[in-house]
Symmetry: C2
Subunit: 520 residues, 2 copies
């Protein structure tokens, strides 16, 4: 058995998302990756074409393959059956077995079949819990799935196949937690999170996010996570930011069958469209009305092809955002695409330590600060932690607003302040502040991101900046200042109103034209 | 001279943006339109290719054409010179004349030349004010431009050419206002707003927005507005939402020359890119590193081609947003792309009557309500105005939160309330509320958008909803209720804390799973 680190390499990360490489018997797969569903019998867009488009991993259904192709599949292997030479994942067909009540198919036979067809990623025959199952039934399904998974993993061959442990439990978070722990303990090198389709169909993004975080918190970083049934342009960035590495869906085809065109932020029915805002091979050749008039099958295939391009573009945008260290910005902007997605913002602002782990200590790009949510951005909370540990013996404190020139010690403001407080300069702790980063002591003013941010000059209400208040209190408690000089602005006046013996003074930051260095 | 309505037809509008048709001597041009700059001598991407990509209007420089092609251009016409059979706009070269101090070129000769070369949109030889000019100098330039424009228009031929009146004044809003008024009075059928390049280079989107609004407020709807030098993906939706119909730029080529790749939200230098999230003919063939390694000229042209596709996609997204009535959502989401763009939000929330004009009374789609800004969305403020005029003689008022079923009178909540207040039902005014739409009287509960919204179930601070408070006060003042029954929730408790004699009662809206009908 190959050592784990060879199977999954992490190249770069941001929030809980990461860019990685899965090494398989059929080549490398860069993650995060959308895994298109290929139907083993009636696939109208050739798997080859899908490979050419840049999808290096597809998923197909082992159960349907068994029922339709039987021995032929076992002899030829799944790659010949679906005519695809990249990596293949096979779902075991747990859903179908449950749905059709097929008692002939058992997990041992299915595992044997998955070995024979030489799939790259195999899944034990699980019992999906779905949504709305009673706790008792859910426990029964989870236990069954765990038993099957353990046995299947123990009887695997050392053939380079990657077995995926299916996490069940759905809305019962204790079951999700326990399920994940067990599967990790059994030694699965990859896990998959089951059946959140109901969450996604009802746009319950917040529940989905919480379920993913529950599982992720029990998994080591080195184990990649697959998410079943996620192929909507709003689900993808969310799932990636939460730490899902692969996600399969037939969305490209299902939406196409219903005449739905995938855009950046959702799907639109063809007959509501006047403009294709996509430069793909389909959209540059046809107008919406022209596609509407095509025969049904042709229309569906053309739409499906566009949908694949559109999903790939979304995944690439998210990957580029990780690459640039802008995943927070990407996800928070995306949240404005649908009110139900907007409800996930508190998930991001209240799980800071979870999201912090993946955020590099230093980034090439300045961070953007827009509104109160951004005080909980990992780079920002990390800076707050540093300031909360800051100690000085100086007795005189001076706080002014940040200015256009960074870091503080190179600024015109600092020179002005040095003159103003020349008499006790050696005993003076100079600080800048902004509502997001809080107190910025001179000595920390070049630590990322204190000199690497672009802030919106928007009205913000003082009460919203709770992190500022907390850090300020700790800072004042830990350091015993005798005199405090505070620039006379509304924000500081609000936050110092309860502190006694403050001297307010008028101070104006040097205004400068917006800085070109932060152009994108 | 053709009558005005034939030159510009408005098909659809949202906020101040509109989809229209410009009728020219060389075909129809659908607006809003990005107008690529074509260099009359050294154009490396053929104008023909640009036409094939769907750009039906380009701009070129009449001054450079005169200097480089002289008589040849006058004989052949500008369409042959740049080899383009769509509509052509010619800039008069005011900038170049100022820059090179060319005293040989005068406005009369330039107007003659523009007639001879048979350009479709001609611009008088103006004197651009640029940014940072003293008021005195700016007045001088504005007056010169007005004089030239008037004379040029008076001596035009009745040949189907469209003369564009150049608005000058830059940051001096009184000059912009006066300039616009005069040009409209002279009878120009199209205007252009001059030289905001400096605003855009320093990312002063708020100043740009204010300048555009200043001009637009002086213009009849029937007159289209061109914006000079706007080709950034953040400027385009802003300019369109503010009412600019066409905007020219060489951005596709200028960015390409600097190795910059245009994305949805800005530009990224090629060497910072790992992923192309674009399915255009260039991005599907090459990876970022492969383009980097191409010879300089080839690289620039390939990047420029992608940049054109990217800009076209942005324009099409904005057009589709107008088509779907989602321009407000589009612009507010886009604002999260850059902190300086975020600063334009107050421009939208504080110019409601300006933006309301273009918003249809009824839309096919539900509106999305995310956060406090959305209380100023035109559809919402319009509903507030209606409620502020609402009169009832009933003496008993009941207010409860909105529920999942709309309109109110078809909901389970209404049935419950009818039973609860059965005794004085004929004297009871039933209302729902939400923080955005405010009070929703039963009788108005099916009026758009009272039954056509999807609201984010996010925490919102009661103080932020000032429109709610204003409408509530007016509603209570205009209608003389003797008893007031209010559901016992935090939001209502906050807003009724100053009102006396209120009976709070416990009431729970029927919860329902998220509604599928609002899927996008």
């Amino acid at each position: 058995m190959k050592p784990r680190y060879e199977m999954f390499e992490i190249k770069k990360s941001d929030l809980a998302g990461r860019i990685g490489i899965l090494h398989t018997n059929h080549g490398k797969v860069e993650t995060p990756a959308y895994v298109p569903v290929i139907h083993p019998v009636k696939q109208s867009i050739p798997a080859k074409k899908i490979k050419e488009m840049g999808f290096d991993l597809v998923i197909t259904n082992a159960y349907i393959t068994l029922k339709q192709h039987g021995n032929e599949a076992a002899e030829k292997g799944i790659h010949k059956i679906i005519d695809y030479d990249g990596a293949i994942m096979t779902d075991s067909g747990g859903y179908q077995v449950l749905e059709y009540g097929d008692i002939d198919t058992n997990y041992k036979a299915m595992a044997e079949f998955e070995k024979k067809i030489a799939t790259d990623f195999a899944i034990p025959l699980d019992k999906p819990t779905g949504f709305g199952l009673s706790k008792k039934k859910a426990i029964e399904y989870v236990n069954h799935t765990l038993k099957v998974s353990k046995e299947t993993l123990e009887t695997r061959d050392n053939n380079g196949q990657i077995w995926i442990g299916p996490i069940q439990g759905s809305e019962h978070s204790d079951l999700v937690r326990g399920s994940t722990r067990e599967l990790v303990k059994y030694g699965f090198h990859m896990l998959a999170l089951g059946s959140p389709v109901e969450f996604m169909e009802s746009y319950e993004y917040r529940l989905l996010a919480q379920m993913i975080i529950t599982a992720k918190k029990e998994m080591p970083d080195s184990v990649p996570l697959h998410l079943f049934g996620a192929g909507h342009p709003l689900t993808i960035p969310l799932a990636v930011a939460l730490g899902c590495d692969t996600f399969d869906s037939a969305s490209y085809m299902l939406y196409a069958k219903h005449g739905r065109y995938i855009t950046e932020d959702g799907t639109t029915h063809l007959d509501e469209m006047s403009y294709f805002s996509c430069p793909c091979e389909i959209c540059t050749k046809f107008k919406p009305k022209e596609i509407l008039l095509l025969p049904r099958e042709d229309r569906t295939n053309k739409l499906a092809l566009h949908n694949l391009y559109s999903i790939k573009a979304e995944v690439d945008r998210v990957k580029q955002a990780i690459h640039e260290g802008r995943l927070w910005e990407y996800v928070l902007k995306k949240a404005r695409a649908h009110p139900k997605l907007f409800e996930t913002i508190p998930v991001f602002t209240s799980n800071t330590s979870f999201f912090s782990q993946g955020v590099p200590a230093f980034k090439e790009n300045a961070i953007f600060l827009f509104a109160k949510e951004d005080q909980f951005r990992p780079e920002v909370t990390r800076f707050h932690s540093m300031v909360r540990k800051f100690r000085t013996g100086k007795k005189n404190l001076v706080i002014v607003a940040d200015g256009p020139m960074k870091p503080f010690y190179l600024s015109a403001e600092y020179n002005k302040l040095k003159k103003k407080f020349a008499k006790k300069i050696d005993d003076t702790q100079f600080c800048q502040y902004n509502p997001y980063l809080g107190i910025i002591p001179l000595e920390l003013s070049d630590i990322y991101p204190a000199a690497h941010y672009v802030m919106s000059n928007s009205q913000c209400s003082q009460e919203d900046f709770t992190e500022f208040a907390t850090t300020l209190n700790i800072f004042l408690k830990q350091n015993k200042f005798k005199t405090i000089h505070v620039a006379n602005d509304d924000f500081l006046k609000h936050h110092f109103k309860l502190t006694k013996k403050i001297k307010f003074f008028n101070f104006r930051a040097t205004t400068g034209r917006a800085k070109k260095q932060f152009k994108r």
